[in-house]
Amino acid sequence: MTADAAGPPQGTLDMLILKSLSLGEMHSLGIAKRVEQLSREAFHVRAGSLFPALYRMEESGWLASSWGESDNNRRAKFYRLTALGQRQLEAETEEWGRVTRAIALVLGTT
């Protein structure tokens, strides 16, 4: 966890969380670590952004949660992707691809 790591770009946190959960159910700290790991420590997810995002997505029915035991025998709340969340991830991934391709195109021409 590096001190100079920034948060993920605006509007992409949901997608990153959904993506990290697509590999299996996970607790909140695990999600934060996974995002950091997958981005090679480029992104650092603050608790102040993580929890609002988790609750919002849970209330939207994209995530489901249940209490369980962590690897170190700590009680933790585990989140998993619902079918609705899976569809949301696909839609966001596709949209993201479209946007990045377009931006790459714009930047490539100048």
Binding site: A47, S49, G61, R74, R75
Partner: protein, 897 residues
């Protein structure tokens, strides 16, 4: 799909808030714990690890706050908190809160009441099951003549009933009229009877509680006479006995068999007590002018209004064709019943009088709003410190303003509830007045408060509340924490506040001045109506009516014979000074007759002037203590076959014989509306002139008091007779004697509508009196609110200027001078407000003309009186608090800070 989850979460967050919070706490705790575990594994001591984890999280409480903000229903949560805080604040300042609630109540009550009135008048539906599915048939041409005509001829009805395919059935009824009825051997009583064809009850979806309603064979001429009775008659005459079916009831001369009993509360139309089968004469040709019925039908399931209207139009065009060539009638049309009723009475739009009434009521609301704003301003200064602290602690200006507005909204809602209560009691009062009147407008009209009136009152209160609290709230919020905390309440914004509340007082005074002018005008006209000097004591005259059944009194001669036997008996009753009969009482009004004065020519039918006519018996003028001014009264010589004579009143002379010469002049009477002038009478010769004291109907909208009298003995006597007896005895005992006298001549004849002349007169103009009373109440409410406002503002400014007054006093200012100083501003505001109010009232007062009964809209007495009242009451409201200035002790005032 997502929204559904959101809703479920909202409910969970709202109702299981503590559980949701506990879970969030636990989750964050485990998050910190796991971070600490990691740190420990990286080699930190347990304490260090835990501290580093907390630093990493950057404040557990902040994270919770951010997480709460995204939860569903976060906004509701804030509002809920504001509401609870608002209620606490309201309870903390009970006097102020109560004044605000009362002010709101007084302000919202009048417009909600008028709203309920207008709604009852315009939107009431027939009181039957799904009334919008019941259509009425009638002739209506909205383009040519606005009024819906309910009359459908017998032939049209029968044809339509057979051919139509869109209604469950078509049914006809006629309102019928007053009848006398009694079970064999019982005392006769008067009631209303309506004639129904088969199927009327079925279209209304009203079932009898006992027996049956009418069948098709009841309509046939020659069928057994039957009757369906109302619940009241069942109770009072038959003791709610179930074996009433098959019993006999003598109805207006015919003995009928009771076949059905209707449920409690059913009295359609016009409070009917009995229902008779409608006898439809198939041979009656509509050209002969009768009979016409009201026709209704309930739409079959699945048939739309427009389909039904198209179907009726098609059938009607086939029916109307054969008579083409004669004068074209408006087409037969089907309209929803309620709408047809309104179209028939011409109340499709709000009458101007109600617009004026509504404007007056809104004026009261405006005054109330200004008052609320003033009250809140005075609170604002006391709360400045609290608000400043909140803002210093980081509350945004918007957040503070929202809190203040929420507080007012609570008070406004409480005020709206109070206002609705006031409005409801007003509507109950109005219904009790209207209930005594059988006016057709009120056939379906029910005056109450429904969700529309309810939301109207709430919206009015909230709009007023928010409007009046916005300026004080913004002023407070704008002051900012620094200014408020340091200046201790005095500074630039006090000036601003002073200007704002001065403009409020000005507006209040102007509005209530205008309202008082209106109420003064209607009050004066009401005085003119009720305070008129009558030549007789209205309580000393007892009146009653008789309706002679055609079966027992088949012709004019029989009626006349009965009358001539009755009147001497009445006159000889103990205590009776004079007794008479007529076809109407002096205060009532009938359809006017058109007039043709001898020697004058009229180009068109409508050029014939209209006049009121009453046919009277002997001693009529003596009974009402009018003496002839010129010529003679009627006497025994005025009989059928002798010279047809008339007595006219003074206004008639002024209007129709301005040349002066009256006795011996001749005129004829007729009816307007036919194509050619066709007089209904012979030439009538004027033999006498009486004073105008018999205003021929004081609610005469044309306000033309011209009228004339004909002798009953010379005309065809109708079945209706009004009796009047002037006596020096109590009305109660006299009524028993009169009833006995009538009963000795005809035991089946009940005495109807026994009333003193005072009661008759007050029934005639209840509408005018009711509306006058409303204007008076509105005006007084506005005056009261304005005075409260003036009192509040002056006492507030006196309190605020204690320091200044102390300085002035210390420098040697006199007490009177100081009081004047405190008053000065209010007096100037009052004067300006009154001037503006008068200027506002004068042009609008013209709209009240129909209420004014000859009082001019610019009546100097009323305007002067209003100025005096406002000057006096407003001045007092200012003077009382201003005098407190003199009690200021300069030493205390100067050391107060």
């Amino acid at each position: 799909m997502s929204a559904l989850y959101r809703l479920a979460s909202l409910i969970r967050n709202f109702f299981h808030r503590s559980q949701v919070e506990r879970e969030m706490d636990a989750e964050l705790e485990s998050f910190v714990q796991m971070l600490a575990d990691e740190n420990t594994r990286a080699g930190m001591s347990p304490e260090e690890a835990r501290r580093a984890a907390r630093v990493e999280v950057q404040g557990v409480e902040q994270v919770k706050e951010e997480a709460r903000a995204v939860r569903a229903g976060a906004l509701i949560e804030t509002i809920w908190r504001d509401l609870r805080y608002g209620v606490r604040m309201a309870l903390k300042h009970p006097v102020l809160s109560l004044s605000v609630v009362l002010t709101f109540g007084l302000g919202v009550g009048p417009p909600a009441f008028v709203f309920g009135l207008v709604e009852g008048l315009l939107w009431s539906e027939p009181p039957f099951e799904s009334p919008e599915r019941i259509l009425a048939l009638g002739r209506w041409d909205p383009a040519r003549e606005g009024r819906f005509n309910f009359g459908v001829s017998a032939r049209d009805f029968l044809e339509l009933r057979e051919q139509q395919e869109v209604f469950e059935g078509l049914a006809a009824f006629s309102h019928g009229g007053e009848v006398n009825f009694a079970e064999p051997g019982g005392a006769p009583e008067g009631g209303m009877a309506a004639s129904f064809s088969a199927g009327v009850f079925e279209q209304l979806k009203v079932r009898p509680v006992l027996g049956r309603t009418f069948r098709a064979d009841d309509e046939r001429p020659g069928a057994d006479p039957v009757v369906v009775i109302g619940h009241r008659t069942w109770r009072e005459r038959f003791g709610t006995s179930p074996d009433v079916l098959g019993r006999e009831l003598r109805v207006h001369g015919t003995v009928r068999t009771v076949v059905g009993v209707m449920p409690e509360g059913f009295g359609f139309p016009r409070g009917a007590d009995l229902w008779l089968p409608l006898r439809i004469d198939r041979s009656a040709s509509p050209a002969a002018g009768g009979p016409y019925y009201s026709v209704i039908g309930r739409l079959k399931a699945g048939v739309s209004l427009s389909q039904a209207q198209a179907h009726v139009a098609t059938l009607a065009s086939r029916l109307d064709r054969p008579r083409a060539g004669s004068d074209p009638l408006p087409p037969l049309t089907a309209l929803p019943w309620g709408a047809a009723g309104r179209a028939a009475n011409g109340v499709n739009s709000i009458p101007p009088l109600f617009v004026a009434l509504f404007a007056a009521a809104l004026g009261v609301l405006l005054v109330a709003g200004a008052n609320v704003a003033n009250l809140l301003l005075s609170r604002e200064s006391s709360r400045r410190h609290e608000i400043a602290v909140r803002m210093a602690l980081g509350a945004s200006r918007w957040r503070v303003a929202r809190q203040l507005v929420t507080e007012v909204a609570i008070l406004a809602a409480a005020g709206a509830a109070l206002g609705l209560g006031l409005a409801l009691s007003g509507l109950v009062w109005f219904t009790s007045l209207a209930g005594a009147d059988a006016n057709e407008v009120f056939d379906f009209a029910a005056f109450g408060l429904d969700w529309r009136a309810f939301s109207f009152a709430l919206c009015a209160a909230l709009a007023t509340g928010i409007g009046s609290s916005l300026v004080p709230a913004l002023l407070t919020a704008k002051a900012g924490p620094a200014g408020a905390l340091s200046a201790g309440g005095r500074g630039g914004s006090t000036m601003k506040r002073g200007r704002f509340s001065a403009s409020l007082i000005f507006a209040e005074t102007a509005a209530s001045c205008a309202l008082l002018v209106f109420s003064g005008l209607v009050f004066r006209s009401a005085l003119r109506l009720t305070g008129e000097v009558l030549p007789f004591a209205p309580d000393s005259i007892v009146t009653a009516r008789l309706v002679l059944p055609r079966l027992d009194y088949p012709d004019s001669a029989a009626t006349a014979a009965f009358r001539e036997r009755l009147l001497p008996r009445l006159a000889s009753l103990p205590g009776v000074v004079a007794a008479t009969a007529g076809d109407r009482l002096p205060d009532a009004m009938g359809d006017p007759y058109a007039l043709e004065v001898e020697g004058r020519s009229y180009a068109r039918d409508s050029d014939h002037p209209l006049t009121q006519v009453a046919a009277i018996g002997p001693d009529y003028f003596e009974t009402f203590r009018a003496s002839t001014l010129l010529g003679r009264e009627f006497h025994d010589g005025d009989r059928l076959g002798s010279l047809p004579v008339a007595v006219v009143n003074e206004s008639f002379v002024r209007r129709h014989f301005p040349e002066g010469e009256v006795l011996g002049r001749q005129f004829r009477l007729g009816r307007r509306g036919s194509r050619e002038w066709s007089p209904a009478t012979q030439w009538l010769t004027v033999v006498g002139v009486v004073p105008d004291m018999f205003r021929m109907g004081r609610n005469n909208t044309r306000r033309d008091p011209a009228g004339l009298y004909l002798p009953l003995a010379q005309g065809a006597s109708g079945p209706r007779l009004s009796l009047a007896l002037r006596a020096n005895r109590a009305p109660g005992a006299l009524t028993r004697d009169v009833r006995a006298a009538v009963g000795s001549l005809d035991p089946n004849l009940p005495l109807l509508d026994v009333k003193t002349m005072r009661e008759v007169m007050s029934l005639q103009n209840w509408g005018t009196r009711a509306i006058s009373r409303m204007f008076e109440v509105f005006g007084l409410a506005a005056l009261f609110l304005t005075c409260v406002g003036i009192y509040g503002v002056v006492s507030f400014s006196v309190t605020n200027r204690t320091h200044e007054m102390g300085v002035r006093m210390a420098l040697g200012a006199g007490r009177a001078g100081l009081v004047w100083l405190a008053l000065q501003r209010s007096v100037a505001l009052l004067a300006a407000g009154v001037a503006a109010g008068l200027a506002l009232a004068a042009p609008v007062a013209g709209a009240l003309r129909p209420l004014l009964h000859g009082v001019r809209p610019i009546d100097p007495l009323v305007y002067g009186g209003v100025v005096a009242v406002i000057g006096l009451v407003g001045g007092l409201a200012a003077l009382v608090p201003a005098r407190r200035v003199t009690r200021v002790d300069p030493v205390v005032a100067l050391s107060a800070e």
